[in-house]
């Protein structure tokens, strides 16, 4: 095992009856890394995270989480990781302080230590509401930050965040991601699932999941480079019917990917020459500009590639 690895996963699978939710995935995560899981709903992201938190036991395969395996049924792992689930899991009818006290009680933290951690986490998250405020009265973004503080109260080395920013405002999302970067800055490892492409861009590395399998794993830049070695153009037909041109373009030499993005189309080619040849016959009303491929393009290309 790599001495710097926070997680080491080998051939992990889980089945629920006949359904294979996670199918033979292997990867390792370095300490201090922001590791993202990207995939559609039902791709197996949450199930993977729940296994790595010790909430579910795998059907086969092995994992070392902070050096611990599933030998004790996940109990040891639960002690050393922090988990923030997709659903908002604090108690709305209790106050901020009561929620934190409850988490401290469940983890048997010394009151003095819990108090110190609470202060540290409030500083880290810039949470400034009084302890006596009811959770139900907090805005969505603050609730997420409090949930993170509860998940990190016992100072875990590895933090799992399952879609932490679903349903909060764009400003709160940005704030939350800045917070994630501060956490990894402290040497903690963060595993996060998302289906926001802009959030995925901020991860050190991304594991792309589809139908329970890991279909790609790399940094956002490398994923783009591997999926699209050549140039990409964005075609805009300004709302004019261009079906004949598009069906011709589909057969063009060197075309890697042609996909609709709203009213526009993205066309990726293996090299510049094929792109220029294919677009020489562009209708006069249409326009084409070079663009950098986004993670969304990568996602579409890779997921469609596995489904074809």
């Amino acid at each position: 095992m790599n001495a710097f690895a926070a997680l080491e996963v080998k051939g992990l699978s889980i089945k629920f009856g006949d359904f294979t939710a996670v199918d033979d995935i292997s990867f390792s995560v370095n300490r201090g890394e922001i590791f993202g899981f990207l995939g559609a709903n039902g791709a197996g992201k949450t199930t993977t995270i729940r296994m790595l938190c010790g909430l579910l036991l795998p059907t086969s395969g092995s994992a070392l989480v902070g050096g611990l395996d599933f030998g004790d049924g996940g109990k040891g792992i639960k002690r050393i990781v922090g988990y923030m689930s997709q659903k908002f899991t604090l108690y709305n009818d209790l106050t901020v302080g009561e929620n934190l006290d409850f988490a401290a009680g469940l983890r048997k933290l010394e009151p003095a230590y819990a108090k110190k951690r609470r202060k540290e986490l409030f500083e880290l998250t810039a949470f400034n509401k009084p302890l006596s405020s009811k959770v139900s009265s907090l805005p969505g973004g603050l609730k997420q930050e409090l949930a993170l503080a509860v998940a990190m109260l016992h100072d875990p080395e590895i933090v799992f965040l399952d879609e932490p920013t679903s349903g909060v405002s764009p400003e709160s999302r940005a704030r939350f991601w800045a917070l994630i970067r501060r956490i990894t800055g402290l040497g903690k490892t963060v595993l996060v699932t998302t289906h926001y492409m802009d959030e995925a861009e901020q991860c050190g590395r991304i594991a792309l999941m589809s139908a329970g399998r890991l279909i790609a794993l790399d940094s956002p830049e490398e994923l783009k480079r591997a999926a699209f070695p050549g140039p990409m153009a964005e075609l805009d037909f300004k709302g004019v019917e261009a079906r004949a041109f598009l069906s011709g373009l589909e057969k063009a030499a060197g075309l890697l990917e042609l996909s609709p993005h709203g009213m526009r189309w993205h066309a990726a080619f293996s090299d510049r020459a094929s792109l220029e040849a294919a677009l020489s016959a562009l209708p006069p009303f249409a326009s084409a500009v070079f663009i950098k491929p986004s993670l969304e393009d990568v996602f579409i290309r890779l997921v469609e590639g596995t489904e074809r």
Binding site: C53, L55, R79, Q86, L94
Partner: protein, 412 residues
């Protein structure tokens, strides 16, 4: 397996905060016992009083007047003077529930020591009311025997010393069409003695609740309703809420164990329910004067066993439904109905059809009811209550095991 009390305490403390913050739970836990006591202790009285009695007195003699006095003095009857219509028409039109017919020669026969008869006609269309009224007749009969027949001869006792004591018969009858005569004369020891034929007489003495006070019968049973409803409902709701909110994930992602969650969540509700039982106990003793003949310790043991069964049932419901709404409906049906209808709380188990009698054996409230009444009214000891206690213990253990097993497998 190490069971950590710190974590149980953390869960229990959080649960207490939920209870204190939730007006519905508080209102239910505090209001239900008060409501039940008020309802069953005051409003629902199985004794029938103020029965309107029409009298057709064709005798108008002193003995007839005394007979009427005896009816009113019992406290159960109120005389209604017949107007232009006769007593039977008054029965038909529901203006009275019973009618008394006194024959023209009633006083003369009493005076002469003969067999004086008065007929009592009863509206049989309301079974339970008619049964209650019939139950009052022996007392009236005895009083009449003593005051009329005795006084006629200047002798209050009917010891048999008098060679020819007068006989009085009161007969109760359904008005129409078949006459049911309930002759009470055979119970008259004086008559039996004088006839010299048969010296056996049947005398009824009621033990434990000599006045058949319905509050004595009902109020101790309220503990079963409170436990059966509150424990099941509150537990089912609290655990289902944890699933519904997704906060069960938070609990499970910590090192807390399923058994610790169960213990921590159930303890406050167990305490709340026992407080309700204490309240009913105090009210029944202090307000209604219900006697407590048996051992308090034994009573507490029965309560704890039944509470365990009820909490387990609530837990099982919440695991199976996972939704507060559904859990609530299930709790009402599986908690309230058996406690109310199949436990013997109001309707005796012995008078149920065979199938239901067997069914009640599977229901903890039936056994708790038997134990609770046995302890409070009869002062029964553990030896006498071995069957209810064993059944209750067995059913509680099964329920708890089932609930824990389902809860644990559900988490994995």
């Amino acid at each position: 397996m190490n069971f950590d009390l710190h974590r149980v305490y953390a869960v229990a403390r959080k649960e207490v905060m939920h209870i204190l913050r939730d007006p519905f739970t508080l209102a239910l836990a505090l209001g239900l016992p008060v409501m039940l006591v008020a309802f069953f202790g005051y409003a629902m009285d199985f004794e029938v009083r103020d029965i309107k009695l029409a009298v057709s007195d064709r005798d108008n003699g002193p003995a007839a007047r005394r007979l009427k006095e005896i009816f009113t003095a019992s406290g159960y009857f109120r005389l209604v003077e017949p107007g232009p219509v006769g007593p039977v028409e008054m029965l038909d039109s529901n203006r009275v529930s019973a009618a008394l017919f006194i024959a023209p020669d009633f006083s003369k026969k009493i005076k002469g020591g003969g067999f004086a008869e008065a007929q009592f006609v009863l509206d049989g269309s309301d079974n339970s009311k008619a049964a209650a009224i019939i139950g009052y007749l022996p007392g009236i009969q005895r009083a009449a025997q003593l005051r009329l027949a005795g006084r006629a001869h200047g002798n209050q006792s009917s010891s048999g010393a008098d060679p020819e004591p007068s006989k009085l018969s009161l007969s109760a009858a359904d008005p129409d069409p078949v006459e049911l005569l309930l002759s009470e004369a055979d119970r008259d020891p004086a008559k039996l003695l004088s006839s010299g034929a048969d010296r056996v007489s049947v005398e009824t003495r009621l033990l434990y609740n000599p006045e058949l006070n319905s509050r004595w019968f009902i109020v101790p049973g309220l503990a079963a309703i409170i436990i059966g409803l509150l424990a099941i409902l509150l537990t089912a709701l609290t655990v289902a809420r944890e699933w519904e909110n997704g906060s069960m994930e938070l609990l499970l992602s910590t090192p807390v164990r399923p058994l610790e969650i169960i213990a921590g969540k159930l303890a406050p509700y167990g305490a709340l329910v026992l407080a309700g039982v204490c309240f009913v106990y105090l009210v029944s003793r202090l307000v209604f004067g219900v006697p407590f003949a048996g051992s308090h310790l034994l009573y507490l043991a029965a309560c704890l066993l039944f509470v365990t069964a009820a909490l387990s049932q609530g837990l099982l419901i919440s695991v199976l439904t996972r939704q507060q709404q559904v859990a609530m409906q299930f709790s009402m049906i599986s908690g309230l109905l058996p406690s109310m209808l199949l436990s013997g709380f109001i309707f005796p188990v012995e008078s149920m059809p065979g199938f239901f009698q067997y069914l009640t054996m599977l229901l903890p409230p039936r056994w708790f009811m038997a134990a609770a009444r046995g302890i409070t009214l009869k002062g029964a000891d553990l030896g006498e209550l071995a069957v209810p206690f064993l059944a209750l213990g067995f059913l509680s253990a099964v329920m708890l095991a089932l609930a824990i097993k389902n809860f644990k497998t559900d988490l994995e």
